[in-house]
């Protein structure tokens, strides 16, 4: 029986088991004693050595490496304990990792054998609300060797590898695409583990050893909680690192790995020239989508947890909320929702006023329209029933191409149509937004329909349609919606939109992602959506004009305050493109890319 690589549910839809501390401790015990699994031969560089690692603000660790997989370690002069460990070398860097038997704690250590500098990653389970999620604290220091002066310098948090992207293949066979479009988050696509349909995001650390050697970490917060750390050699495209956590089947994932990479590219950075600073943002108590973590707690950092504060509604609650309030393109001051998302939006167009047409979708309805005014239309579905008046807004993004949106009043799932109409070619594409979806009733869903426009003087094509495109795949576009509100989209798979929010200093900050689709309307004109699944439930639709570098779009959202359709509009900059199309080609040999 053939097997597909796709999971039954993607990471953001899985119900991750709430493992208890007792369960975690019990499952770690055997691997703590044995040491991490490994596919490559372990390094024996440390075998027989005794050394002490001194950190500036963290623990002092005294190691005795009894062999290439057994050590004893004493923390801060305490009692030495035995543990299994695994070490791997990458040029002048030796990386090793171990757990502390009988606890939920472990360490990953990066030693620069040339400079003597070291960075210790203290790792522990049980530090977050989900006990399975690995916490980390980072301690910079040095290797204290007899007769050797401690180095004055330290490894440092940096933004120097922000904007890079890699394909990695571990010695385990696992293949990933990994992007660093932020100084504090990263984005990863599991090509082999889950088939590469969607990319996901996690809080990350970026630490500079030297100009070609960096340390990267990622915690799969909100998902498995697995922690990944590796040292990267940028020139040789090699990595050595550790993966620690519990997988979707709650099995321990604890192994050191070696990997080889491919260069995907470098996109732009937007900090001021000369700014190479890095390091995470601290938690902001009270912020939406966050723990109320103490900013002074060990290892504290801002972690985006959107589902935590998302108001989850039933169908009855949705229906009641929509019955109470439908805000369709009302001015932002009236609380249309997403008030800051269109300060830089283009003015709406009255170009459809006075026109009548039928938009006939191949796999959807035939929508008859009478555009009575610049903001008022009547619609009828499938040539039957009464005409319904609706408020709409339209924007003419390119000559003859309009994006328009309206609510289908009375539709059982409160549908909103976001439509791109090309009057010069008689073509239309609709992102049909709706609610009453399976996971949370107020979370938006979307169907994509291709079709034609029938109107006076328009003869639509018989076979031609707008089509999905991979021309945006790998691209990163910034979007300045309003002063102080700028994001960057990264189109990391044919079905993913990731968004990165810039900090006040222009660094990439928090990042999240959701499903998306991309339709080519004309050259340099694309219709796309992102869906905030397991996040804020919004459907964002935008018509991207890569000549004017401006979008025109519509957000569709439902919450306790009701349903809204509101303008989205921003000025764009092209941050660059990662070369990733080949990783998504479906080839005939066994269906593998």
């Amino acid at each position: 029986m053939a097997r597909t690589p796709y999971p039954k549910q993607q990471f953001h839809r899985l119900k991750w088991t709430a493992l208890s501390e007792a369960t975690i401790t019990a499952r770690l015990a055997p691997v703590a004693a044995a040491g991490p699994a490994h596919a490559s031969t372990l390094s024996n560089a440390l075998s027989g050595e005794t050394l002490r690692i001194v950190t500036d603000k963290g623990p002092s660790l005294t190691y005795r490496f009894r062999s290439d997989d057994r050590l004893t370690v004493a923390q801060d002069g305490g009692r030495a304990v035995q543990a299994g460990y695994g070490a791997l070398d990458l040029g002048k860097v030796t990386f090793f990792a171990h757990l502390i038997p009988g606890t939920m704690q472990g360490f990953a250590v990066v030693m620069d054998q040339a400079s003597g500098m070291a960075t210790v990653f203290e790792l522990w389970f049980g530090g977050q609300q989900e006990k399975r999620e690995v916490s980390r604290a980072i301690w910079h220091g040095y290797v204290d060797r007899a007769g050797r002066e401690p180095p004055a310098a330290r490894n440092v948090a940096t933004n120097r590898i922000e904007g890079k992207g890699f394909y990695w293949k571990q010695d385990t066979g696992a293949e990933t695409l990994e992007f660093y479009p932020s100084a504090t988050y990263s984005h990863f696509v599991e090509l082999t583990r889950t088939g590469g349909e969607l990319g996901f995001c996690g809080p990350s650390d970026y630490i500079k050893i030297d100009d070609e050697t960096y340390i990267y970490t990622r915690t799969e917060s909100e998902f498995s909680g697995i922690f990944t750390i590796y040292v990267i050699d940028l020139n040789r495209l090699e990595q050595v690192g550790l993966r620690l956590g519990f997988d979707a089947a709650d099995k321990v994932d604890y192994y050191v790995f070696r990997g080889n990479g491919e260069w995907l590219g470098q996109i732009a950075q937007f900090e001021k020239f000369g700014d190479t600073s890095g390091g995470p943002a601290l938690p902001r108590p009270g912020a939406t989508g966050q723990d109320n973590t103490d900013p002074d707690a060990k290892g504290a950092r801002a972690i985006y947890r959107p589902l935590k504060t998302y108001p989850k509604m039933t169908k009855a609650e949705v229906d009641a909320a929509v019955a109470k309030s439908r805000r369709i393109f009302v001015p932002p001051a009236s609380g249309s929702g997403a008030s800051g998302m269109a300060v830089n939006g283009a003015p709406s167009s009255g170009g459809l006023a006075g026109k009548t047409m039928t938009v006939r979708y191949d796999d959807g309805p035939a929508m008859e329209y009478r555009f009575d005014k610049a903001d008022s239309l009547r619609w009828r579905m499938n040539g039957a029933g009464d005409w319904t008046t609706a408020r709409y807004q339209a924007w003419e993004s390119a000559p003859g191409v309009f994006i328009l949106g309206h609510l289908l009043e009375g539709a059982p799932n409160h549908d909103g149509h976001m439509v791109v109409i090309d009057l010069d070619h008689g073509l239309a594409t609709c992102f049909n937004g709706f609610v009453n979806t399976p996971f949370y009733a107020n979370e938006a869903g979307v169907k994509t329909w291709f079709g034609t426009v029938e109107a006076e003087n328009i003869v639509p094509p018989k076979y031609r349609r707008h089509e999905h495109t991979d021309e945006l795949l790998g691209r990163a576009l910034t979007w300045n919606y309003a002063p102080g509100l700028t994001s960057m989209h990264l189109y990391s798979t044919p079905n993913t939109v990731s968004w990165i929010i810039f900090t006040d200093t222009g660094a990439g900050g928090m990042e999240w992602s959701g499903p998306g689709e991309f339709v080519k309307i004309r050259d340099d004109l694309y219709f796309a959506y992102w869906l905030e699944e397991a996040c804020n439930g919004t459907l964002g639709t935008i018509l991207i004009n890569m000549r004017t570098m401006h979008d025109a779009g519509i957000g569709y959202h439902c919450g306790p305050e009701g349903l809204s359709m509101s303008q989205v509009g921003a000025h764009s900059r092209h941050a660059g493109k990662f070369d990733i199309a080949k990783y998504f080609a479906i080839k005939t040999e066994g269906g593998k890319a």
């Binding site: 943002a281 800051g340 998302m341 810039f502 900090t503 919004t538």
Partner: protein, 167 residues
């Protein structure tokens, strides 16, 4: 007659006050009463400029209580919490200070660059994420005219009220 004005003028110059309009005045034409009223006016202007400089310094250092203390009635001091910095516009005309005939009130017109910060409505995913990482606000610098009413009471000169208008 004019000699009385000279020391005052020097003291103003030490304080960095612009005196071009007064230097240009035909000093020899001044009558004793003119001279007294001019001195009163110059003292009022100096006090107003000094108060304005103090106000800006205290706003810019975040000393809101100290800034309010410059007002005749500190409790009614209206200093917008959104102001981060207020600085004299480098290319503006010199501040204009009009002093009332009785020398007890003055009105200053100061062209300023005002940097403000205002909280963003957290009604979108992106705004919420920006807030969570320490942002979620809008910083803007605008050219404004600060109209300041100064009053002279028993304790000396103080600020009556402050108003910002479009430049």
């Amino acid at each position: 007659m004019t000699t009385e004005a000279v020391p005052s003028r020097r003291s103003f110059l030490k304080g960095g006050v612009m005196l071009a309009p007064f230097v240009a005045a035909p000093a020899a034409a001044l009558a004793p009463d003119d001279s007294r009223s001019r001195l009163t006016r110059l003292e009022a202007e100096m006090a107003a400029r000094s108060l304005h400089a103090d106000l800006l310094r205290r706003i810019n250092t975040g000393d809101r209580i100290g800034a309010a203390a410059l007002f005749a009635d500190p409790r009614s001091a209206r200093i917008d919490a959104n102001w981060i910095t207020v600085a004299a516009a480098a290319d503006a005309e010199p501040d204009a200070i009009d002093v009332s005939a009785d020398g007890r009130r003055a009105c200053g017109r100061h062209v300023c660059m005002v940097e403000t910060i205002s909280a963003m409505a957290l009604d979108s995913t992106f705004a919420q994420m920006a807030y969570a990482q320490g942002g979620g606000h809008v910083r803007q610098t605008e050219r404004k005219v600060m109209i300041v009413d100064y009053v002279r009471n028993e304790a000396g000169w103080a600020i009556g009220q402050v108003q910002l208008t479009s430049a």
